[in-house]
């Protein structure tokens, strides 16, 4: 592995983890699409700050962009609060308008300056190692590694400091308010985190794929765990793994790194969607199948119990007769009887099925319930 390859992967991993941390709360609080809105409207913040600062490398750009992210959230909230439009429509109205203003400003006033909308939207990780941080003549490594590393630390510190507040405000906003934490403050703190992260990350991966890095890892982890700490750790791990996997996929195909990372994230989600131990499609289908057989065995036991000791028992409780009694076909009946025998629910004597004690108990408890 060459030096730039290593550096690109390091930047990708750091960016992915930095995005995954606030992303967990975006997904849990059901405001995932605010990340989409923020990551687009920060373009306007960058453009305006660029007009003020006059250069594309000024730190003012990051400040302006993050501020525009917060302004987006405020505008969406204000519009929702008028009750004239629903929240999702408010998002869909605000960010395209801000983004349009930015595109028009760029087209009109910065034609010959390096402020390319493509780059903002798509990013290019492969170029990230070219911008070096040089201190006193020493090459300290790529700039964006430091930028994203700083944002990652910031997010991590924010998470540690306000973990309790975030958790409470996310899972029980009313209790949080009653205990004196301001849910609004928590919300805006989180949105500030998302804005700063989006600004830092769009340079590397572009604004659309920031959304992938923020939402896909938590959504995947959400299918795998019920606990917040493991969801956070899982999101970070999934993000990091996708960053490395995506890099090598891009290497293999000679394609966009950011696009490949999103593809790997999508694949990981698809795997979790299908195979997750509790909530995956296959697990759910298997559980349904198991419950079907369980239900059939219980039905059989209840049927036998109903006729037990009565004169018609010898007739009703014959295997061939179950077809009429329960409306089952032959193969299905044979399988249910076989399973019930194996489970010790009944035994076959004199051509009829006879419940064992445990079979009787099962039937009685099922009827009682």
């Amino acid at each position: 592995m060459t030096q730039p390859q290593l550096e690109i992967q390091a930047i990708a991993v750091v960016t992915a983890i930095a995005c995954a941390l606030p992303g967990v709360f975006l997904v849990l609080r059901r405001v995932a699409l605010l990340s989409d809105a923020i990551s687009h409207s920060i373009l306007l913040g960058i453009v305006l700050a660029f007009f003020v600062a006059g250069s594309v490398t000024s730190p003012l750009l990051i400040v302006g962009a993050a501020a525009m992210g917060l302004i987006t959230v405020v505008l969406v909230q204000a519009l929702t609060r008028t009750k004239l439009v629903a929240n999702d429509a408010a998002i869909g109205l605000v960010f395209p308008a801000l983004f349009s203003i930015a595109v028009v400003l760029i087209a009109r006033y910065s034609g010959d300056v390096h402020l390319d909308t493509d780059v903002v939207l798509l990013g290019e990780l492969a170029f990230a190692p070219f911008e070096r941080l040089v201190i006193a003549g020493y090459d300290m490594g790529p700039q964006s590694l430091y930028l994203m590393g700083g944002i990652l630390l910031l997010n991590f510190a924010g998470l540690l400091l306000f973990y309790k507040e975030l958790k409470l405000a996310t899972f029980d906003a009313a209790l949080a308010a009653a205990l004196g934490f301001s849910p609004a403050l928590v919300h805006f703190g989180l949105m500030g985190m998302v804005s700063v992260t989006a600004v830092g990350a769009f340079d590397a991966v572009g604004s659309i794929l920031v959304v992938a890095l923020m939402i896909a890892p938590p959504a995947t982890a959400y299918l795998l765990t019920d606990r917040l700490p493991s969801m956070i750790a899982g999101s970070a791990l999934i993000g990091a793994a996708a960053a490395i996997g995506g890099y090598w996929l891009a290497h293999l195909l000679d394609a966009s790194i950011a696009g490949s990372i999103a593809t790997v994230l999508g694949a990981m989600f698809a795997v979790a969607f299908a195979l997750a131990p509790q909530r995956g499609l296959i697990a759910v289908a298997r559980r349904r199948g198991r419950q079907r057989w369980e239900f059939a065995r219980t039905m059989l036991a209840i049927h036998l119990l109903n006729h037990e000791g009565l004169p018609e028992a010898a007739d009703e409780n014959r295997v061939e007769h179950l077809k009429d009694g329960l409306g089952w076909d032959g193969d299905f009946t044979a399988e249910v009887v076989k399973q019930a025998k194996r489970n010790g629910l009944l035994w076959e004597g004199e051509g009829a099925l006879i419940l064992t004690d445990s079979g009787r108990r099962l039937a009685e408890s099922a009827v009682a319930a």
Binding site: A32, L33, G92, L93, P96, F99, Y222, A255, A262, G266
Partner: protein, 386 residues
């Protein structure tokens, strides 16, 4: 401004943008009502891999690109539906996931194709920001034809779509296949979005779906009015965006269309009769004024009760009776207009007989529940009951 009639290119672009506005206005109305405003955003992003695959198979044929885009967009909505239905991930998470992952796959495929040695450089720019200026006659015909099919379908299934938007459970109890009707409406939305991609681009297409519908919603409570109005707003935004962007160099068409639509939304939100923001402001002011007139009447009555005979009271006393009051001149004038108070001397006001009666009536109805007399009556009735 009149060049729209003579300039061929502008006429083509304006026609295309207007037709697109009509289609997205009609389908967007339903999306807004069903709180699926951001589905359009997801569909337009999800279309990218389809565009690339369409390009790989059909070359630069516009039909291949359209079919590819529609297929991928439709698949995206399917994935969103199945995620929301089978997991605990909600709409927003599913939409964000599909939007970004599909777009990422598209980006990967596109860069892969572009870097093949014999690939022609199909620009991603067109897809991202649209290229309205490059619309030609055949594009407009395609937009108009597909749009007409979509709108005709809406007309045919009008009743079903209305039911789906307002009370799908009721539809189910009537025995209508609401699931399939939902898929049909979503398919039409996909068509509306796909034909717009070339004009306004991925990022801004979502605004074309949301804005006309959200604006039209402000003016009416009837679906039969809202949908045509939304189409009108969409057409207005499309045509005016195209015209404005042609007036000066370097005013990109897509963003100008979206900004026109945003202006329509702002105007509707502020002015719409009965629910607009200005209307609300006016109503609040009127209420505040009415309440302060009532308060002055009550205060004047309280002062009046202190005296057996008709006795004028000073404005200064009224002013002092409420902390947040600054001046009661306007309120007193209102009372005078209604004949409830009259000016006895400079800065001195007196309650008229009519005013006294009115104030007594109000103070009684205000204090009714805890009123001694009322409870006495109740007691009496209770006592008589057995």
């Amino acid at each position: 401004m009149l060049t729209i009639f003579s300039d061929y290119t502008l006429r083509t672009v304006a026609l295309g943008a207007g037709a697109l506005g009509i289609v997205s206005g009609v389908l967007g109305s339903f999306a807004v009502l069903r709180k699926q405003s951001l589905l359009g955003d997801a569909i337009s992003h999800a279309a990218l891999p389809g565009v690339v695959i369409g390009f790989l198979i059909g070359g630069k044929s516009p039909l291949a690109l359209l079919i590819g885009a529609a297929g991928a967009g439709w698949l995206g909505t399917l994935v969103v539906r199945s995620i929301v239905r089978t997991t605990r991930i909600k709409d927003d998470g599913a939409l964000g996931l599909v939007l970004s992952v599909f777009f990422g796959i598209g980006l990967m495929l596109l860069t892969f194709v572009q870097r093949q040695p014999d690939a022609s450089q199909a620009g991603l720019d067109t897809f991202l920001f649209g290229q309205a200026a490059a619309l030609v006659r055949s594009d407009v015909v395609t937009i108009a034809l597909l749009g007409a099919v979509a709108i005709a379908t809406v007309a045919v299934f009008w009743k079903e779509f209305k039911l789906l938007s307002f009370d799908p459970e009721f539809g189910t109890t009537l025995g209508l296949p609401m699931g399939r009707i939902d898929v049909l409406l979503t398919t039409l939305l996909v068509i509306a979005i796909v034909i717009g991609l070339q004009t306004v681009g991925v990022v801004l297409m979502s605004a074309m779906v949301v804005a006309p519908g959200a604006a039209a919603r402000q003016w009416t409570n009837r679906l039969g009015v809202m949908v045509p109005l939304s189409a009108l707003f969409g057409a207005t935004a499309g045509v005016s965006g195209a015209v404005i962007s042609s007036q000066e160099a370097q005013l990109p068409t897509g963003p100008m269309i979206v900004l026109s639509a945003s202006v329509l939304v702002l105007v509707s939100l502020s002015l719409a009769p009965g629910r607009g923001l200005l209307w609300e402001l006016w109503r609040r002011r009127k209420n505040r004024k009415r309440l302060s007139v009532d308060a002055v009447l009550a205060d004047l009555y309280a002062l009046d009760l202190q005296h057996e005979d008709e006795h004028p009271h000073s404005v200064a006393a009224l002013n002092a009776m409420s902390a947040e009051r600054d001046g009661v001149g306007e309120e007193l004038k209102q009372l005078e207009d209604r004949g409830w108070a009259s000016q006895a001397a400079e800065e001195q006001w007196v309650l008229t007989d009519a005013g006294r009666a009115e104030a007594r009536l109000r103070s009684r109805s205000a204090s009714m529940p805890g009123d001694g007399r009322a409870s006495e009556e109740a007691d009496g009735r209770l006592g008589a009951a057995p």
